[in-house]
Symmetry: C2
Subunit: 195 residues, 2 copies
């Protein structure tokens, strides 16, 4: 082995390339990049909805540029993402947590869960995308399974172990850092995983 | 005829009830009320997207209440409305004009027209809802027809007469002040109007 100037050996653990390549990126960024890839390649049309804001005061320093000077965030009335894939309406909410054992349900509003249920009723596909950032793992969980889980338990959170068993690990690649449509392909066109 | 105290006859034109009952209401309000009716009665799930705003500065006077103190409107990247009806993805933009003969195309951004085209490509239904407020008439025009029109003409606007001929007058009722789904029912399930 070649000696290093300071006499220390190289540490293969510290210097190896992180093959996940994704750590620290926010889920929202990853979804935006993935949806952009889907859109440009005409695979699907999915957009994040803007954050709802109540505007109270606006200044017009120039005719062309309205400047909002007082506004407040509103609670969203629906999920953040919806769109169309192979003729199918899809709708989902995306959340990430640093927690290693569970995701608190307080992160998802009741009316968002109700919205996902209504999507199913009208013939669409609804699901959650949940990232456990400590493991850099992101799962797709169909809304129907979440609904069943919530009926069976009084827990205020969903366990990581249950999500690993009931959900689907979303593949990561450079161009599609959260390639959830590859999971939907399996679900919609190649039969379902049974737990 | 019974005489009036001031000796004038009653004027049936001025005192008759306006059977449209809708004059002066904004199209956005009418669509919100109609979509709420559809949602509550589980007919369809269609929402207006929030206006996209870039937030620059936020104050936190209390931990619970973030107050936005500097922000700007963004150009929308998609249309204002989308959702699901009988399993079908629907997507539309809504505009109203006081102009009596045409609607200027400058009211609809190019990327919104491109978005409506992409919706068709992916198997959804896309259209415009256009209100001529001078007549209190609101029309649904399928995107495909708009696309054909724009290919044939170099006009920077769409003529009222063309919209009357190529579009579909949207019925008005108290509970559904802009009942565009009744038009879609005709289009999707009972054959198409030929112009």
């Amino acid at each position: 082995m070649i000696g290093y100037p300071n006499g220390k050996k190289s540490n293969p653990i510290n210097t190896k390339v992180n093959n996940k390549g994704n750590l620290g990126q926010s889920l929202e960024n990853d979804l935006n990049r993935t949806n952009e890839f889907y859109r440009v390649h005409q695979i699907a049309l999915v957009h994040k909805k803007p954050t709802p804001i109540t505007v109270v005061e606006v200044d017009y320093p120039k005719r062309s540029a309205a400047k909002i000077t007082k506004a407040f965030y509103q609670l969203p009335s629906t999920t953040d993402y919806n769109g169309i894939y192979k003729g199918i309406y899809i709708d989902f909410e995306a959340k990430q947590t640093k927690n290693k054992t569970r995701i608190p349900l307080s992160m998802i509003h009741d009316h968002q869960l109700e919205h996902l249920k209504q999507v199913l009723h009208h013939g669409g596909i609804s699901f959650l995308i949940i990232r456990f950032s400590s493991y850099d793992e992101t799962y797709l969980v169909e809304y129907q399974k979440i609904d069943d889980y919530l009926k069976r338990t009084k827990m205020k959170s969903i366990a990581y172990d249950w999500i690993v068993k009931s959900g689907y690990l979303i593949p990561v690649s450079y161009l599609k850092p959260c390639d959830y449509l590859s999971v939907l392909d399996e679900l919609l066109f190649k039969g379902e995983k049974h737990d």
